[in-house]
Amino acid sequence: MNDNFRDIFEETDCLSQQTLMDYLQGKLSGEELHHVEQHIADCELCSDALEGLQAIKQKEKIPFWLRDIKWQLMKKLRKKNHRKRKLRLYVNVLVITLILLILLFMMYWVLFEVRRGH
């Protein structure tokens, strides 16, 4: 009997999107089903998630929704990243320009002092 309980405290990885979809659509074999339910007994996040996913009416649309959300999120992040890079470029250009101006001023001042000395 104890051997049958050997996996009771075994930790398993969180469920992948594919596994969750297969579970929701009743595509899992007996062993796979047990593996998923064993994980749910341990993992609050997956357990909560499955409860919510089961309430979605058109489950077959879930992957398309996620693809769409990811596309929008990535677009926002790239835009944000692009803005950051642009800002960094402007700051760099400004710093270099300032350094060049200071150098030019110093050169001019040295030349002016040398001429005045003569």
């Binding site: 009771i8 007996g30 341990d42 998630a49 919510g52 790239r78």
Partner: protein, 192 residues
Amino acid sequence: MNYPNAQHLSDIELIQRYKTDGNSDWIGVLFDRYAILLLGLCMKYLKNEEDARDSVQQIFLKVLQEVHKHDIIFFKAWIHQVAKNYCLMQLRKTQQHVQTELTEVNMPGVADIEDDQKAKHIEKDNMLEHMQEGLAQLNIEQSTCVKLFYLDKKSYQEIADITGYSLLQVKSYIQNGKRNLKLFLEKFSTKS
């Protein structure tokens, strides 16, 4: 994705890389791991498909803002908490106070992780020796469901059919039964 090994990186490694180079591809990998879980979680709390879909994106944006402020150790527990808090805020906004859900939202996921960490240090074989005694300590519903699930490898649906409990009850009896069993066996192994 230009990084073929990114799938093998841990959540924390992906976050660290994003913090270092700001490349959104790292977040894309995290999204693939957690988006469906967050969608389900939001659906559970908000009970509206459109709101749940919008919330997934908002939660990710919030996570990306927050990662720079915190040193995250258990990403899964942390994102779970961020998502629950976000849903709670949404519910507050729409004046939908559901007392049971509020209680659940306040439960820290980190504590569960710590429990799991503790469990790792327990001698499994030593614990299994006292399984029979542990099972006797559970109430009849928990003990029946735990035995049917772990011993007979029945699915939740099959257990519900055999016992007449609802699916939610079966899930709850297994989760609570397992937790009680773990507590009993931990206590036993500490004594011995």
